[in-house]
Protein backbone atom coordinates (compact mmCIF):
# COMPACT_ATOMS: atom_id res chain seq x y z
CA UNK A 1 0.00 0.00 0.00
CA UNK A 2 2.76 2.47 0.93
CA UNK A 3 4.79 1.69 -2.18
CA UNK A 4 1.75 1.99 -4.43
CA UNK A 5 0.93 5.37 -2.85
CA UNK A 6 4.50 6.49 -3.47
CA UNK A 7 4.27 5.41 -7.09
CA UNK A 8 0.97 7.17 -7.52
CA UNK A 9 2.30 10.38 -6.04
CA UNK A 10 4.70 10.80 -8.95
CA UNK A 11 1.77 11.83 -11.09
CA UNK A 12 -0.12 15.09 -10.84
CA UNK A 13 -0.49 16.96 -7.61
CA UNK A 14 1.86 14.71 -5.67
CA UNK A 15 0.73 13.27 -2.37
CA UNK A 16 -1.77 15.99 -1.62
CA UNK A 17 -5.04 14.26 -2.77
CA UNK A 18 -4.05 10.96 -1.16
CA UNK A 19 -3.27 12.69 2.12
CA UNK A 20 -6.64 14.45 2.07
CA UNK A 21 -8.39 11.09 1.51
CA UNK A 22 -6.57 9.55 4.48
CA UNK A 23 -7.42 12.55 6.67
CA UNK A 24 -11.05 12.46 5.51
CA UNK A 25 -11.37 8.79 6.43
CA UNK A 26 -9.86 9.52 9.84
CA UNK A 27 -12.26 12.46 10.20
CA UNK A 28 -15.27 10.30 9.27
CA UNK A 29 -14.48 7.24 11.35
CA UNK A 30 -12.42 8.68 14.25
CA UNK A 31 -15.38 10.02 16.23
CA UNK A 32 -17.31 6.76 15.72
CA UNK A 33 -14.36 4.73 17.03
CA UNK A 34 -14.02 7.08 20.01
CA UNK A 35 -17.67 6.56 20.95
CA UNK A 36 -17.21 2.80 20.54
CA UNK A 37 -14.17 2.89 22.83
CA UNK A 38 -15.92 5.07 25.41
CA UNK A 39 -18.93 2.73 25.45
CA UNK A 40 -16.66 0.22 27.20
CA UNK A 41 -16.26 2.45 30.25
CA UNK A 42 -16.78 0.74 33.62
CA UNK A 43 -18.19 4.01 35.05
CA UNK A 44 -21.22 6.05 34.02
CA UNK A 45 -19.04 9.04 33.18
CA UNK A 46 -16.08 7.81 31.08
CA UNK A 47 -12.70 9.40 31.82
CA UNK A 48 -10.11 9.47 29.04
CA UNK A 49 -8.20 7.17 28.90
CA UNK A 50 -10.43 4.45 30.37
CA UNK A 51 -9.03 2.70 33.48
CA UNK A 52 -10.62 -0.62 32.53
CA UNK A 53 -12.87 -2.04 29.83
CA UNK A 54 -16.36 -3.36 30.53
CA UNK A 55 -19.45 -4.40 28.61
CA UNK A 56 -21.61 -3.26 31.52
CA UNK A 57 -23.48 -0.55 29.59
CA UNK A 58 -24.58 -2.94 26.87
CA UNK A 59 -26.25 -4.96 29.63
CA UNK A 60 -27.78 -1.75 31.00
CA UNK A 61 -29.33 -0.75 27.68
CA UNK A 62 -30.77 -4.26 27.27
CA UNK A 63 -32.46 -3.85 30.67
CA UNK A 64 -33.61 -0.27 30.14
CA UNK A 65 -37.28 -0.73 29.22
CA UNK A 66 -37.61 2.78 27.80
CA UNK A 67 -34.68 2.30 25.44
CA UNK A 68 -35.75 -1.22 24.44
CA UNK A 69 -39.26 0.05 23.71
CA UNK A 70 -37.90 2.86 21.54
CA UNK A 71 -35.69 0.34 19.71
CA UNK A 72 -38.65 -1.98 19.07
CA UNK A 73 -40.71 1.01 17.83
CA UNK A 74 -37.91 2.07 15.49
CA UNK A 75 -37.54 -1.46 14.12
CA UNK A 76 -41.31 -1.88 13.57
CA UNK A 77 -41.63 1.54 11.91
CA UNK A 78 -38.50 0.83 9.86
CA UNK A 79 -39.85 -2.48 8.58
CA UNK A 80 -43.20 -0.86 7.76
CA UNK A 81 -41.39 1.92 5.86
CA UNK A 82 -39.16 -0.62 4.09
CA UNK A 83 -41.99 -2.85 2.93
CA UNK A 84 -44.58 -0.15 2.25
CA UNK A 85 -42.05 2.29 0.82
CA UNK A 86 -40.67 -0.31 -1.58
CA UNK A 87 -44.16 -1.40 -2.69
CA UNK A 88 -45.23 2.20 -3.31
CA UNK A 89 -41.83 2.94 -4.87
CA UNK A 90 -42.32 0.04 -7.30
CA UNK A 91 -45.73 1.42 -8.27
CA UNK A 92 -44.16 4.87 -8.69
CA UNK A 93 -41.22 3.54 -10.70
CA UNK A 94 -43.53 1.55 -12.98
CA UNK A 95 -45.72 4.59 -13.53
CA UNK A 96 -42.77 6.89 -14.30
CA UNK A 97 -40.98 4.53 -16.70
CA UNK A 98 -43.51 2.08 -18.19
CA UNK A 99 -47.07 3.20 -17.62
CA UNK A 100 -49.46 4.18 -20.44
CA UNK A 101 -50.55 7.34 -18.64
CA UNK A 102 -49.80 10.67 -20.31
CA UNK A 103 -46.28 12.10 -20.11
CA UNK A 104 -47.62 15.04 -18.09
CA UNK A 105 -49.18 12.73 -15.51
CA UNK A 106 -45.98 10.72 -15.20
CA UNK A 107 -43.80 13.82 -14.85
CA UNK A 108 -46.25 15.28 -12.33
CA UNK A 109 -46.04 12.13 -10.22
CA UNK A 110 -42.22 12.23 -10.27
CA UNK A 111 -42.36 15.85 -9.16
CA UNK A 112 -44.69 15.35 -6.16
CA UNK A 113 -42.75 12.25 -5.10
CA UNK A 114 -39.52 14.29 -5.19
CA UNK A 115 -41.04 17.00 -2.97
CA UNK A 116 -39.24 16.03 0.30
CA UNK A 117 -35.90 16.26 -1.53
CA UNK A 118 -36.17 19.97 -2.20
CA UNK A 119 -38.55 21.24 0.48
CA UNK A 120 -36.61 21.81 3.75
CA UNK A 121 -37.30 18.94 6.15
CA UNK A 122 -38.41 21.21 8.97
CA UNK A 123 -41.13 22.61 6.67
CA UNK A 124 -42.17 19.10 5.56
CA UNK A 125 -42.29 17.90 9.16
CA UNK A 126 -44.23 20.89 10.50
CA UNK A 127 -46.64 20.76 7.55
CA UNK A 128 -47.39 17.06 7.98
CA UNK A 129 -47.89 17.64 11.70
CA UNK A 130 -50.50 20.36 11.06
CA UNK A 131 -52.17 18.39 8.26
CA UNK A 132 -52.38 15.33 10.50
CA UNK A 133 -53.99 17.38 13.28
CA UNK A 134 -56.51 18.90 10.85
CA UNK A 135 -57.31 15.48 9.33
CA UNK A 136 -58.03 14.18 12.84
CA UNK A 137 -55.12 11.73 12.89
CA UNK A 138 -53.29 13.64 15.60
CA UNK A 139 -50.03 12.15 16.82
CA UNK A 140 -48.77 8.58 17.22
CA UNK A 141 -47.85 5.49 15.23
CA UNK A 142 -50.04 6.02 12.17
CA UNK A 143 -48.86 9.58 11.38
CA UNK A 144 -45.23 8.58 12.04
CA UNK A 145 -45.45 5.59 9.68
CA UNK A 146 -47.19 7.66 6.98
CA UNK A 147 -44.56 10.38 7.40
CA UNK A 148 -41.76 7.84 7.03
CA UNK A 149 -43.40 6.29 3.95
CA UNK A 150 -43.51 9.74 2.38
CA UNK A 151 -39.89 10.40 3.42
CA UNK A 152 -38.50 7.17 1.88
CA UNK A 153 -40.71 7.24 -1.25
CA UNK A 154 -38.40 9.38 -3.47
CA UNK A 155 -35.40 7.16 -2.65
CA UNK A 156 -37.18 3.87 -3.37
CA UNK A 157 -38.98 5.24 -6.45
CA UNK A 158 -35.91 6.68 -8.15
CA UNK A 159 -33.70 3.70 -7.28
CA UNK A 160 -36.28 1.31 -8.78
CA UNK A 161 -37.02 3.61 -11.74
CA UNK A 162 -33.32 3.54 -12.67
CA UNK A 163 -33.37 -0.26 -12.64
CA UNK A 164 -36.71 -0.42 -14.45
CA UNK A 165 -35.31 1.74 -17.26
CA UNK A 166 -32.39 -0.68 -17.68
CA UNK A 167 -34.64 -3.74 -18.13
CA UNK A 168 -34.58 -5.34 -21.55
CA UNK A 169 -38.02 -4.88 -23.12
CA UNK A 170 -37.36 -7.83 -25.41
CA UNK A 171 -37.67 -10.24 -22.47
CA UNK A 172 -41.19 -9.19 -21.52
CA UNK A 173 -42.12 -8.98 -25.23
CA UNK A 174 -40.92 -12.58 -25.70
CA UNK A 175 -42.96 -13.73 -22.71
CA UNK A 176 -46.02 -11.92 -24.10
CA UNK A 177 -45.46 -13.56 -27.51
CA UNK A 178 -45.48 -16.91 -25.79
CA UNK A 179 -48.95 -16.14 -24.50
CA UNK A 180 -48.32 -14.71 -21.03
CA UNK A 181 -50.70 -11.94 -19.97
CA UNK A 182 -49.40 -8.77 -18.30
CA UNK A 183 -49.77 -10.07 -14.77
CA UNK A 184 -47.88 -13.26 -15.62
CA UNK A 185 -45.12 -11.30 -17.42
CA UNK A 186 -44.79 -9.05 -14.37
CA UNK A 187 -44.70 -11.96 -11.93
CA UNK A 188 -42.41 -14.30 -13.87
CA UNK A 189 -40.12 -11.90 -15.79
CA UNK A 190 -40.08 -8.36 -14.40
CA UNK A 191 -40.21 -9.13 -10.68
CA UNK A 192 -37.32 -11.65 -10.65
CA UNK A 193 -35.16 -9.21 -12.65
CA UNK A 194 -35.94 -6.43 -10.18
CA UNK A 195 -35.38 -8.54 -7.07
CA UNK A 196 -31.86 -7.29 -6.16
CA UNK A 197 -33.01 -3.69 -6.63
CA UNK A 198 -36.12 -4.35 -4.52
CA UNK A 199 -34.01 -5.77 -1.70
CA UNK A 200 -31.58 -2.84 -1.89
CA UNK A 201 -34.50 -0.41 -1.89
CA UNK A 202 -36.06 -2.05 1.17
CA UNK A 203 -32.74 -1.97 3.07
CA UNK A 204 -32.08 1.69 2.20
CA UNK A 205 -35.66 2.59 3.15
CA UNK A 206 -35.19 0.80 6.47
CA UNK A 207 -31.96 2.71 7.16
CA UNK A 208 -33.59 6.05 6.22
CA UNK A 209 -36.57 5.41 8.46
CA UNK A 210 -34.48 4.01 11.32
CA UNK A 211 -32.41 7.21 11.34
CA UNK A 212 -35.19 9.72 10.66
CA UNK A 213 -35.44 12.34 13.38
CA UNK A 214 -37.20 15.58 12.47
CA UNK A 215 -40.44 14.23 10.97
CA UNK A 216 -40.80 11.86 13.92
CA UNK A 217 -40.08 14.77 16.28
CA UNK A 218 -43.16 16.58 14.92
CA UNK A 219 -45.47 13.56 14.59
CA UNK A 220 -44.72 11.24 17.50
CA UNK A 221 -46.48 13.16 20.27
CA UNK A 222 -45.85 12.04 23.83
CA UNK A 223 -46.94 8.40 23.52
CA UNK A 224 -44.51 7.12 20.85
CA UNK A 225 -40.74 7.29 21.09
CA UNK A 226 -38.09 6.12 18.64
CA UNK A 227 -34.36 5.63 19.09
CA UNK A 228 -33.29 8.95 17.46
CA UNK A 229 -35.83 10.85 19.61
CA UNK A 230 -34.66 9.02 22.72
CA UNK A 231 -31.00 9.73 22.02
CA UNK A 232 -31.66 13.37 21.11
CA UNK A 233 -33.50 13.86 24.40
CA UNK A 234 -30.64 12.31 26.39
CA UNK A 235 -27.84 14.10 24.50
CA UNK A 236 -29.15 17.42 25.71
CA UNK A 237 -28.95 16.27 29.32
CA UNK A 238 -25.40 15.01 29.06
CA UNK A 239 -22.94 12.57 27.50
CA UNK A 240 -22.73 9.22 29.31
CA UNK A 241 -21.38 5.71 28.79
CA UNK A 242 -24.98 4.50 28.53
CA UNK A 243 -25.56 6.84 25.60
CA UNK A 244 -22.31 5.66 23.98
CA UNK A 245 -23.41 2.02 24.10
CA UNK A 246 -26.84 2.99 22.72
CA UNK A 247 -25.11 4.92 19.92
CA UNK A 248 -22.99 1.92 18.98
CA UNK A 249 -26.10 -0.28 18.73
CA UNK A 250 -27.85 2.29 16.51
CA UNK A 251 -24.81 2.73 14.26
CA UNK A 252 -24.35 -1.02 13.88
CA UNK A 253 -27.97 -1.62 12.88
CA UNK A 254 -27.99 1.13 10.25
CA UNK A 255 -24.49 0.26 8.98
CA UNK A 256 -25.48 -3.37 8.45
CA UNK A 257 -28.64 -2.37 6.54
CA UNK A 258 -26.82 0.20 4.40
CA UNK A 259 -23.77 -2.03 3.85
CA UNK A 260 -25.96 -4.89 2.63
CA UNK A 261 -27.86 -2.51 0.36
CA UNK A 262 -24.60 -1.10 -1.07
CA UNK A 263 -23.43 -4.62 -1.87
CA UNK A 264 -26.57 -5.07 -3.98
CA UNK A 265 -26.37 -1.78 -5.79
CA UNK A 266 -23.48 0.41 -6.93
CA UNK A 267 -23.63 3.76 -5.07
CA UNK A 268 -23.63 5.66 -8.38
Amino acid sequence: MVTSLAQLSERGAGRFPGVVVALTLAFLYGPVLVVGYLSLSPTAQPTIPLDALSLRWYGEIAQNTRFVRSLVNSLVIGVAAAVGGTGLGLAGAYTITRSQLSATARRGLALVIALPLFVPTVVVAFGIGRASAIAGLGFGYLPVILGHLFWVLPFTTFLLAARYAELDDALSAAAADLGANRQTVFRTVTLPLLRPALTASALFAFALSFNEFLITFFLAGSSVTTVPLEIFGKVRIGATAFLNAASVVVLLISAVAAGAASALRKPV
Partner: protein, 277 residues
Protein backbone atom coordinates in the same frame (compact mmCIF):
# COMPACT_ATOMS: atom_id res chain seq x y z
CA UNK B 1 -57.94 -4.18 -23.77
CA UNK B 2 -56.25 -0.78 -24.01
CA UNK B 3 -58.73 0.84 -21.64
CA UNK B 4 -58.41 -2.04 -19.17
CA UNK B 5 -54.65 -1.60 -19.22
CA UNK B 6 -54.95 2.10 -18.68
CA UNK B 7 -57.36 1.55 -15.80
CA UNK B 8 -54.84 -0.78 -14.17
CA UNK B 9 -52.03 1.74 -14.72
CA UNK B 10 -54.18 4.42 -13.12
CA UNK B 11 -54.80 2.16 -10.12
CA UNK B 12 -51.07 1.47 -9.78
CA UNK B 13 -50.25 5.19 -9.95
CA UNK B 14 -52.89 6.11 -7.38
CA UNK B 15 -50.97 4.62 -4.42
CA UNK B 16 -47.82 6.73 -4.54
CA UNK B 17 -49.79 9.69 -5.94
CA UNK B 18 -52.23 9.73 -3.00
CA UNK B 19 -49.42 9.50 -0.45
CA UNK B 20 -47.39 12.26 -2.09
CA UNK B 21 -50.43 14.53 -2.47
CA UNK B 22 -51.70 13.92 1.07
CA UNK B 23 -48.31 14.37 2.77
CA UNK B 24 -46.53 16.67 0.31
CA UNK B 25 -49.02 19.01 -1.34
CA UNK B 26 -51.88 19.12 1.19
CA UNK B 27 -49.61 20.10 4.16
CA UNK B 28 -48.11 22.96 2.13
CA UNK B 29 -51.63 24.23 1.40
CA UNK B 30 -52.51 23.93 5.09
CA UNK B 31 -49.39 25.87 6.06
CA UNK B 32 -50.10 28.55 3.48
CA UNK B 33 -53.64 29.08 4.79
CA UNK B 34 -52.39 29.14 8.40
CA UNK B 35 -49.65 31.62 7.51
CA UNK B 36 -52.34 34.09 6.42
CA UNK B 37 -54.44 33.71 9.56
CA UNK B 38 -56.02 34.99 11.61
CA UNK B 39 -57.86 37.38 9.31
CA UNK B 40 -56.24 36.43 6.01
CA UNK B 41 -53.65 39.17 6.28
CA UNK B 42 -49.89 39.50 5.83
CA UNK B 43 -49.27 40.16 9.56
CA UNK B 44 -47.39 36.89 10.12
CA UNK B 45 -45.19 37.57 7.11
CA UNK B 46 -44.45 41.07 8.36
CA UNK B 47 -43.29 39.54 11.65
CA UNK B 48 -41.29 36.77 9.94
CA UNK B 49 -39.50 39.40 7.86
CA UNK B 50 -38.85 41.78 10.77
CA UNK B 51 -35.15 42.50 11.43
CA UNK B 52 -35.12 40.15 14.44
CA UNK B 53 -36.00 37.07 12.35
CA UNK B 54 -34.37 38.28 9.15
CA UNK B 55 -31.08 37.95 11.06
CA UNK B 56 -31.73 34.27 11.73
CA UNK B 57 -32.69 33.76 8.09
CA UNK B 58 -29.52 35.32 6.69
CA UNK B 59 -27.43 33.60 9.37
CA UNK B 60 -28.90 30.20 8.36
CA UNK B 61 -28.21 30.82 4.69
CA UNK B 62 -24.71 32.10 5.53
CA UNK B 63 -23.95 28.95 7.52
CA UNK B 64 -25.34 26.88 4.65
CA UNK B 65 -23.07 28.58 2.12
CA UNK B 66 -19.95 28.54 4.32
CA UNK B 67 -20.25 24.86 5.24
CA UNK B 68 -20.96 23.94 1.62
CA UNK B 69 -17.78 25.72 0.50
CA UNK B 70 -15.70 23.82 3.09
CA UNK B 71 -17.26 20.51 1.97
CA UNK B 72 -16.43 21.30 -1.67
CA UNK B 73 -12.82 22.20 -0.79
CA UNK B 74 -12.41 18.78 0.83
CA UNK B 75 -14.43 16.88 -1.77
CA UNK B 76 -12.33 18.10 -4.72
CA UNK B 77 -9.06 16.36 -3.79
CA UNK B 78 -10.94 13.38 -2.32
CA UNK B 79 -12.99 12.65 -5.44
CA UNK B 80 -10.01 13.41 -7.68
CA UNK B 81 -7.96 10.77 -5.87
CA UNK B 82 -10.83 8.30 -5.91
CA UNK B 83 -11.64 8.71 -9.61
CA UNK B 84 -8.13 9.15 -11.05
CA UNK B 85 -5.52 7.84 -8.62
CA UNK B 86 -7.14 5.05 -6.66
CA UNK B 87 -6.37 1.58 -8.09
CA UNK B 88 -9.57 0.44 -9.86
CA UNK B 89 -10.21 -2.56 -7.61
CA UNK B 90 -10.26 -0.38 -4.45
CA UNK B 91 -12.41 2.33 -6.00
CA UNK B 92 -15.82 0.91 -5.04
CA UNK B 93 -14.66 0.09 -1.51
CA UNK B 94 -13.29 3.63 -1.20
CA UNK B 95 -16.50 5.18 -2.42
CA UNK B 96 -18.59 3.07 -0.03
CA UNK B 97 -16.28 3.94 2.89
CA UNK B 98 -16.51 7.65 2.11
CA UNK B 99 -20.29 7.64 1.69
CA UNK B 100 -21.46 5.05 4.25
CA UNK B 101 -22.03 7.78 6.90
CA UNK B 102 -24.88 9.02 4.68
CA UNK B 103 -26.88 6.12 6.02
CA UNK B 104 -25.94 6.47 9.68
CA UNK B 105 -27.95 8.38 12.23
CA UNK B 106 -26.98 12.07 12.21
CA UNK B 107 -28.14 12.59 15.79
CA UNK B 108 -25.72 9.88 16.93
CA UNK B 109 -22.94 11.08 14.60
CA UNK B 110 -23.20 14.60 15.99
CA UNK B 111 -23.28 13.29 19.53
CA UNK B 112 -19.94 11.56 18.85
CA UNK B 113 -18.37 15.00 18.43
CA UNK B 114 -19.33 15.92 21.99
CA UNK B 115 -16.76 13.34 23.12
CA UNK B 116 -14.13 14.70 20.74
CA UNK B 117 -14.49 18.37 21.66
CA UNK B 118 -15.77 18.49 25.26
CA UNK B 119 -13.70 20.01 28.06
CA UNK B 120 -12.84 16.48 29.18
CA UNK B 121 -12.96 15.10 25.62
CA UNK B 122 -10.39 13.35 23.49
CA UNK B 123 -8.75 16.39 21.91
CA UNK B 124 -8.24 18.16 25.22
CA UNK B 125 -7.12 14.99 27.00
CA UNK B 126 -4.46 14.36 24.35
CA UNK B 127 -3.25 17.95 24.01
CA UNK B 128 -3.18 18.71 27.74
CA UNK B 129 -1.49 15.42 28.64
CA UNK B 130 1.12 16.00 25.96
CA UNK B 131 1.80 19.41 27.45
CA UNK B 132 0.86 21.23 24.25
CA UNK B 133 -1.98 23.04 26.00
CA UNK B 134 -1.84 24.54 29.47
CA UNK B 135 -5.61 24.43 29.87
CA UNK B 136 -8.39 22.74 27.90
CA UNK B 137 -9.83 24.42 24.80
CA UNK B 138 -13.45 25.49 25.03
CA UNK B 139 -14.68 24.65 21.53
CA UNK B 140 -17.79 22.61 22.27
CA UNK B 141 -21.08 24.56 21.92
CA UNK B 142 -19.52 27.21 19.70
CA UNK B 143 -19.80 28.00 16.00
CA UNK B 144 -16.65 25.92 15.46
CA UNK B 145 -18.17 22.73 16.87
CA UNK B 146 -21.40 23.35 14.99
CA UNK B 147 -19.50 23.84 11.72
CA UNK B 148 -17.48 20.65 12.32
CA UNK B 149 -20.71 18.76 12.97
CA UNK B 150 -22.22 20.09 9.72
CA UNK B 151 -19.17 19.20 7.63
CA UNK B 152 -19.17 15.76 9.23
CA UNK B 153 -22.77 15.08 8.24
CA UNK B 154 -22.83 16.65 4.78
CA UNK B 155 -19.37 15.87 3.36
CA UNK B 156 -20.45 12.36 2.21
CA UNK B 157 -23.34 13.87 0.18
CA UNK B 158 -20.93 16.26 -1.54
CA UNK B 159 -18.38 13.49 -2.19
CA UNK B 160 -21.03 11.21 -3.73
CA UNK B 161 -22.40 13.95 -6.01
CA UNK B 162 -18.98 15.30 -7.03
CA UNK B 163 -17.62 11.83 -7.73
CA UNK B 164 -19.96 11.36 -10.68
CA UNK B 165 -18.61 14.33 -12.61
CA UNK B 166 -15.02 13.73 -11.48
CA UNK B 167 -15.23 10.18 -12.84
CA UNK B 168 -16.48 11.47 -16.18
CA UNK B 169 -13.49 13.81 -16.49
CA UNK B 170 -11.12 12.42 -19.13
CA UNK B 171 -7.67 11.70 -17.69
CA UNK B 172 -6.09 12.29 -21.11
CA UNK B 173 -7.09 15.96 -20.94
CA UNK B 174 -5.12 16.40 -17.73
CA UNK B 175 -2.18 14.42 -19.12
CA UNK B 176 -2.18 16.53 -22.29
CA UNK B 177 -2.23 19.76 -20.28
CA UNK B 178 0.72 18.54 -18.18
CA UNK B 179 2.65 17.49 -21.29
CA UNK B 180 2.20 21.02 -22.57
CA UNK B 181 3.81 22.30 -19.38
CA UNK B 182 0.77 23.25 -17.28
CA UNK B 183 1.35 23.49 -13.53
CA UNK B 184 -0.99 21.82 -11.03
CA UNK B 185 -2.79 25.10 -10.54
CA UNK B 186 -3.32 25.58 -14.28
CA UNK B 187 -4.53 22.00 -14.71
CA UNK B 188 -7.02 22.59 -11.91
CA UNK B 189 -8.26 25.97 -13.12
CA UNK B 190 -8.32 25.24 -16.87
CA UNK B 191 -9.19 21.54 -17.05
CA UNK B 192 -10.65 20.16 -13.82
CA UNK B 193 -12.74 23.09 -12.60
CA UNK B 194 -14.72 23.86 -15.80
CA UNK B 195 -15.61 20.21 -16.29
CA UNK B 196 -16.65 19.46 -12.71
CA UNK B 197 -18.44 22.74 -12.00
CA UNK B 198 -21.91 21.25 -12.73
CA UNK B 199 -21.21 18.50 -10.20
CA UNK B 200 -20.11 21.05 -7.62
CA UNK B 201 -23.23 23.13 -8.30
CA UNK B 202 -25.45 20.05 -7.94
CA UNK B 203 -23.76 19.15 -4.64
CA UNK B 204 -24.29 22.72 -3.45
CA UNK B 205 -27.99 22.56 -4.24
CA UNK B 206 -28.35 19.28 -2.38
CA UNK B 207 -26.63 20.20 0.86
CA UNK B 208 -26.91 23.94 1.25
CA UNK B 209 -30.67 23.96 1.95
CA UNK B 210 -30.39 20.99 4.29
CA UNK B 211 -27.69 22.77 6.28
CA UNK B 212 -29.57 26.07 6.35
CA UNK B 213 -32.70 24.25 7.57
CA UNK B 214 -31.00 21.90 10.01
CA UNK B 215 -32.35 21.51 13.52
CA UNK B 216 -30.47 18.70 15.29
CA UNK B 217 -26.85 19.74 14.61
CA UNK B 218 -27.10 23.29 16.04
CA UNK B 219 -29.06 21.92 19.01
CA UNK B 220 -26.45 19.27 19.81
CA UNK B 221 -23.22 21.12 18.95
CA UNK B 222 -24.06 24.79 18.51
CA UNK B 223 -24.27 27.64 20.98
CA UNK B 224 -27.67 28.87 22.22
CA UNK B 225 -26.83 32.28 20.77
CA UNK B 226 -26.53 31.11 17.15
CA UNK B 227 -30.18 30.93 16.19
CA UNK B 228 -31.06 29.17 12.92
CA UNK B 229 -34.43 29.07 11.19
CA UNK B 230 -35.40 25.53 12.15
CA UNK B 231 -35.11 26.30 15.86
CA UNK B 232 -37.39 29.33 15.43
CA UNK B 233 -39.98 27.16 13.67
CA UNK B 234 -39.77 24.45 16.34
CA UNK B 235 -40.00 27.05 19.13
CA UNK B 236 -42.97 28.77 17.54
CA UNK B 237 -44.74 25.42 17.16
CA UNK B 238 -43.91 23.73 20.43
CA UNK B 239 -43.36 26.52 22.92
CA UNK B 240 -45.44 29.46 21.72
CA UNK B 241 -48.06 27.39 19.82
CA UNK B 242 -48.03 30.16 17.21
CA UNK B 243 -48.75 28.14 14.07
CA UNK B 244 -49.46 31.17 11.88
CA UNK B 245 -46.07 32.69 12.53
CA UNK B 246 -44.27 29.33 12.21
CA UNK B 247 -46.05 28.75 8.88
CA UNK B 248 -45.12 32.21 7.56
CA UNK B 249 -41.50 31.67 8.59
CA UNK B 250 -41.55 28.25 6.88
CA UNK B 251 -42.85 29.80 3.67
CA UNK B 252 -40.31 32.61 3.65
CA UNK B 253 -37.57 30.02 4.10
CA UNK B 254 -39.10 27.70 1.49
CA UNK B 255 -39.22 30.52 -1.06
CA UNK B 256 -35.60 31.45 -0.35
CA UNK B 257 -34.53 27.83 -0.85
CA UNK B 258 -36.65 27.21 -3.94
CA UNK B 259 -35.41 30.44 -5.54
CA UNK B 260 -31.81 29.30 -5.26
CA UNK B 261 -32.73 25.81 -6.52
CA UNK B 262 -34.53 27.35 -9.49
CA UNK B 263 -31.47 29.42 -10.38
CA UNK B 264 -29.34 26.25 -10.37
CA UNK B 265 -31.90 24.22 -12.31
CA UNK B 266 -31.84 26.80 -15.11
CA UNK B 267 -28.55 25.30 -16.21
CA UNK B 268 -29.12 21.99 -18.06
CA UNK B 269 -25.71 20.64 -17.05
CA UNK B 270 -26.53 21.13 -13.36
CA UNK B 271 -29.93 19.53 -13.87
CA UNK B 272 -28.31 16.43 -15.35
CA UNK B 273 -26.04 16.03 -12.32
CA UNK B 274 -29.06 16.25 -10.01
CA UNK B 275 -30.83 13.39 -11.74
CA UNK B 276 -29.26 10.71 -9.57
CA UNK B 277 -30.99 12.18 -6.51
Amino acid sequence: MATAERRLDRLVASGPALLALALGVFPLLVLFVESLGPGLGPANYAEALSPLYRGALTYSIGVGVAVTVVCLLIAYPVTYWLAHRCPARYRLVGLVALTLPLWLNYVVLNYAWVWILARSGVVNAVLVNAGILGQPLEVLYTEVSMALGFVYIYLPYVVLTMYVSMERLDQRLMAAARDLGATNLRVFVDVILPRTLPGAAAATLIVYARIAGAFATPEILGSPGNVMVARLVVQAVREYINYGFAAALSFVFLVAVLASLAVGALFPRVRRELRQW
